[in-house]
Amino acid sequence: MNYFPDEVLEHVFDFITSHKDRNSVSLVCKSWYKIERCSRQRVFIGNCYSISPERLIARFPGLKSLTLKGKPHFADFNLVPHDWGGFVYPWIKALAKSRIGLEELRLKRMVVSDESLELLSKSFVNFKSLVLVSCEGFTTDGLAAIAANCRFLRELDLQENEVDDHRGHWLSCFPESCTSLISLNFACLRGEVNLGALERLVSRSPNLKSLRLNRAVPLDTLQKLLMRAPQLVDLGIGSYVHDPFSEVYNKLKIAIQRCKSIRSLSGFLEVAPHCMSAIYPICGNLTFLNLSYAPGLHGNKLMKLIQHCRKLQRLWILDCIGDKGLGVVALTCKELQELRVFPSDPFGAGNAAVTEEGLVLVSAGCPKLNSLLYFCQQMTNAALITVAKNCPNFIRFRLCILDPIKPDPVTNQPLDEGFGAIVQSCKGLKRLSLSGLLTDQVFLYIGMYAEQLEMLSIAFAADSDKGMLYVLNGCKKLRKLEIRDCPFGDAALLEDVGKYETMRSLWMSSCEVTLGGCKSVAEKMPSLNVEIIDECEQMEFNLVDKQKVDKMYLYRTLVGHRKDAPEYVLIL
């Protein structure tokens, strides 16, 4: 079979970098499997419970970069209890014991303790990069350990984590000898930082390209940092509150003008909107602008800012931009590919300030649009049909109408036809989130047309089991399905249990599935973990099979039941 020596194959495999492709390569034959596994450096594990660290280490001795995801997506919305699982410690412990020379660790929705961070920092001499997204369980003490012990640290990227901020001097823990930083993001930290230490750190990091500050970094420090780091490509501003008559503001204007490489701007966690003109000089080069944490910026000031950003490819914004503001985006940002509009009031108590009109405007003005997250007050079928026509290239389409079962306000019809148009037109659609009043019909369309769909999120939709069946039968590439508050029961769940082995996971909460139905799945499919989560412990797990299950999470796994589940999780 093998006409080439192993080294040649290995060299060829070096060019194959995507996880999917490398996985495919490993399936060709035994010798390819062997060569591939020995040369693999980067591994992605979408569900940390699908495999064990020991097996990972055994298969990939050359591992350098590991990405792990823990909790299911709905954990973001408080549907999963905090101590459900997703602990990274066992992974770090196992890797530390092994001979793996870990250099990069990327975690999402995992529980990370200070102990883990400390062990990580002391176990891998060449450790370079730590990226934590939506994680929890650690404090600034853990960060201090990373800063102090990782001598060649290049990247410390903390995105949207809940960190217990002890206001310790973790920044001061970076030794004077640490000059290798390329990326530092601590925007999610709530406490004070040692500003002097920060300035010195930035001064001695000539390769620093990405710097995202937290709210505690005031403007005068920002100005000093920018003077020391004009090479920045990505900047997250903490506090942008100052007196426009002050010396500092003038100095800031000069500093910003020197930063000709900035392509990505975010933050403005605290903002004095009348002073945005200092930013204008760099707006023309921006490809990514994230103002979704800047509620202080709205109205005309916001419009003026956006009008300067002609090269924008990704825009994250709050809905206070309004439909009119989205009209300005449509006129200005012709290169726009990704738009995310978040609710100004995330508790949904007020009214969202954007409607279907804003979305239609953007779809008409920005033909390259391929990724959308849109929280809005209402949506119409006509608008969705227009959007589908204007933008057939959607890869991600996530729509959230604040009232989850709101029909088309013009026709009073469900939004089946509108979403149907989206899936029919956007042949490359990989991710879809639905909302609004929806019947089984929309799922018929999804099953028929959404051939590339990998992830589907459904809430308060459908009339019967048929909805779920259309999806399971039709969407051949489906990997993640998450459902809440839909009338799907055992009949749908049990129709094709083999399907779940082809998927990463299935989440169903507040549906009609029963304990008996879930037990049935578990019995038929030993390769799945079927977890029942019942925080109220009403079930006490000895109730009748026809008891409805509040939350079920099932996922394929090679290593059977996990041992770290809390009391209120029953694994069938």
Binding site: F74, D76, F77, N78, L79, E160, N161, E162, C188, R190, V241, H242, D243, F245, S246, L269, E270, A272, S292, Y293, P295, G296, F342, P343, D345, P346, F347, G348, A349, F375, C400, L402, D403, P404, I405, K406, P407, D408, P409, N412, Q413, P414, S433, L437, T439, Q441, S457, A459, F460, D463, S464, R484, D485, P487, S509, S510, C511, E512, K548, D550
Partner: protein, 184 residues
């Protein structure tokens, strides 16, 4: 197609606030059959329910689907905004043709404020002492407090000052001297 309010009550979509005598929040499926397939089994289930949201929307668990980090951040921001919203006050100077406005929240204390006032109006303020007010200059910075009284800037702690200051006035000449001599 309009449904009466009574019908909507009967279908019990549970968008009422928790604590009202309706049981359970929407996420509980046991109480919450979707009205369409529950009530309308005989009718065409495709017709939509008229959406008349109750005046105060309830908190459905996990809806809208916004990351909890973002929600917590919003609460923090709101808190600090109410604590530290911009405090804009007018500043007048005797003899100047027009007034200015400044945001007191931006400054950390009196020295900074006085420096800014000096820059803004191109004058010099004397040295402050509790006993004698501002010596060495014809000008005195004063402010109107919540009670409507004109006070000398600098007597009370900074935090108290920015909370009670309604407007600033830089007094000149004899009027100023009169103020500084009187004890409060």
């Amino acid at each position: 197609m309009e449904n009466s309010v009574a019908y909507e009550k009967a279908t019990e979509l549970r968008l009422g606030l928790p604590g009202i005598d309706e049981p359970a929040v929407l996420s509980s499926v046991k109480n919450n059959k979707r009205p369409l397939h529950d009530e309308k089994s005989g009718e065409n289930g495709k017709s939509a329910q008229n959406e008349t949201a109750p005046p105060s929307k309830a908190q459905i668990v996990g809806w809208p689907p916004v990351q909890s980090y973002r929600k917590n951040n919003f609460q923090q921001a709101k808190k600090s905004e109410s604590e530290c919203g911009g405090i804009y006050v007018k500043v007048s100077m005797d003899g100047a043709p027009y007034l200015r406005k400044i945001d007191l929240k931006v400054y950390k204390g009196y020295p900074e404020l006085l420096q800014v006032l000096e820059n803004m109006f191109k004058f010099t303020i004397g040295d402050y002492s509790e006993r004698e007010g501002y010596k060495g200059s014809d000008y005195e910075p004063t402010y109107e407090d919540k009670d409507g009284d004109w006070m000398l800037v600098g007597d009370v702690p900074w935090e108290m000052f920015i909370r009670s200051c309604k407007r600033l006035r830089i007094m000149k000449g004899s009027e100023a001297r009169g103020l500084s001599c009187s004890g409060v």
